[in-house]
Amino acid sequence: MSALIENFDAIIAGFWSTIRLAAMSAVLSLLLGTLLVALRVSPVPVLRGMGTLYVTILRNTPLTLVLLFCALGISNTLQLNFDVEDPAFNGYWLAVLGLTAYTSTFVCETLRAGVNTVPMGQAEASRAIGLTFAQSMRMVILPQAFRAVIAPLGSVLIALIKNTTVVIVAGYAEAAFVMKDMLYESAGTVVMVFLGFAAGYMILTLPVGYLTGWLARRLAVRR
């Protein structure tokens, strides 16, 4: 227990980094994921192909490698940086970039699956009563699809929070980084350290799961 109390400030700072990473990546993943799903259902084959290619590649690459690519490939080889002179700022945004690039593919797939939960008859019916594409999307398909994806999106968000730990490969200091230091450098009571950090992650992830689960049940479309 004492190990946790002694390093309390470092632990809080670590989890604060985790929250900052997860929150920013979540918002951006949602945006990019929506854009990707728009590409993937668009009537233009080239755009559809580009969306599919992106999702296929990113989904099948380990996140560890994606983040290494951001730190070395994008920052260093492509020379795309947010601000080279401020490493902490640069590191944060490169990590967000990697997490977003990876997570958005899962957001995209979840949204697409959500659209697929709406029975074909609904779309046919809305076309039959003369609604245009935009109208049938806005009034019939999307309201149902949106409700169907709340719980799965919650799972994606939980996974994202847990995945922030992998940012360690780019050397960015978040909670797992602090834990590793505590475990290997100053071997205190290892079990307490583990349980402490596990509890920290549970505090972050469990409410997300319950909240989205509750929302999904409340808003569920009854068929």
Binding site: P43, L63, L65, F69, E109, M120, N163, L183, Y184, M202
Partner: protein
């Protein structure tokens, strides 16, 4: 629902718009590709010297393939253990006895909400601190992956059993079967068919997650390709690209397998359970690291 029904057959203006969008898309893709190419050549990353090692069969047989074997064996062992873990705790959660159900639920929920990497660190450091035993990196990776993926699979099993139409178990009880018999003879055989795609896609997650072993220096594909190959040739970026290609190919094969299984499950009429999506979007976190 196929998206085709959402669109009208394009008229002349829509066709024009589509053509413009096609052009814009192509141009954007070309521009991005050219940009990457130019920056790579500026950084000298296309130098033949950096790529030549990958034409040398010895680099593959001596470094990359042993690394690949490390990845595959860790994935295979964790897959087997995770399946066992999943069956035990998934059925535990379905039990009628609270003293089985509650602890199983607690364990599953705990390991599902803790990051895999944290568990791997703990498996390694904890074993040494508590038992004075140096956990080989292989087992630290396997333990972490087993606990996490096993918990996810426990949920898959649970929802798989739930997905069998209730009439089936009611009918079985009416025939006079006991609890065990209903589960063994009626529910599980049908549930397994429904669960297979979800299980296989969890295996893809597991396979990708073995790359976390890189962080504790387990000799996997990523380590061989990203640490040892560059130590020989100083070609860290080309090495990363080659390793990524191998991972993508590996996961694509598994992914196709999942889709094929799903298609087969949908065609066959032997199960009263609806096949779960290959991408277990509902209720199960679809992605690992």
């Amino acid at each position: 629902m196929s998206t085709g029904v959402l669109f009208d057959a394009p008229g002349p203006r829509a066709r024009l718009r589509h053509n413009v969008l096609t052009l814009v898309g192509l141009l954007a893709a070309l521009l991005a590709a050219w940009f990457v190419w130019a920056r790579f050549s500026a950084a000298g990353q296309w130098d033949a010297e950096l790529w030549k090692p990958f034409l040398d069969p010895e680099v593959w047989t001596g470094l990359i393939l042993p690394g690949l074997w490390g990845t595959l064996s860790a994935a295979a062992v964790s897959a087997v253990l995770a399946l066992l873990f999943g069956v035990v705790f998934g059925l535990g959660r379905l039990s009628d006895h609270w003293w089985l159900r509650l602890p199983s639920g607690g364990i599953v929920e705990f390991f599902r909400s803790v990051p895999v990497l944290i568990m791997i660190f703990f498996a390694q450091a904890g074993a040494f601190a508590i038992f004075g035993y140096v956990m080989p990196a292989f087992w630290a990776v396997v333990i972490g992956l087993t606990l996490y993926n096993g918990s996810v699979l426990a949920e898959v099993f649970r929802s798989g059993v739930h997905s069998v139409a209730r009439g089936q178990s009611e009918a079985a009880y009416a025939l006079g079967l006991r609890k065990g018999g209903v589960m063994r003879l009626i529910l599980l055989p049908q549930a397994v068919t429904a669960m297979l795609p979800a299980i296989v896609s969890q295996m893809i997650v597991l396979l990708k997650d073995t790359a976390l072993g890189y962080i504790i220096a387990y000799e996997d594909l990523l380590n061989a390709g990203f640490r040892v190959v560059p130590a020989n040739y100083g070609n860290i970026i080309p090495a990363a690209i080659v390793v990524a290609a191998v991972y993508i190919a590996l996961n694509l094969v598994l992914g196709w397998f999942a889709t094929w299984l799903e298609g087969r499950g949908r065609r066959s009429r032997r199960s009263a359970a609806t096949p779960m999506k290959a991408d277990p979007v509902v209720g199960v976190p679809p992605l690992g690291a």
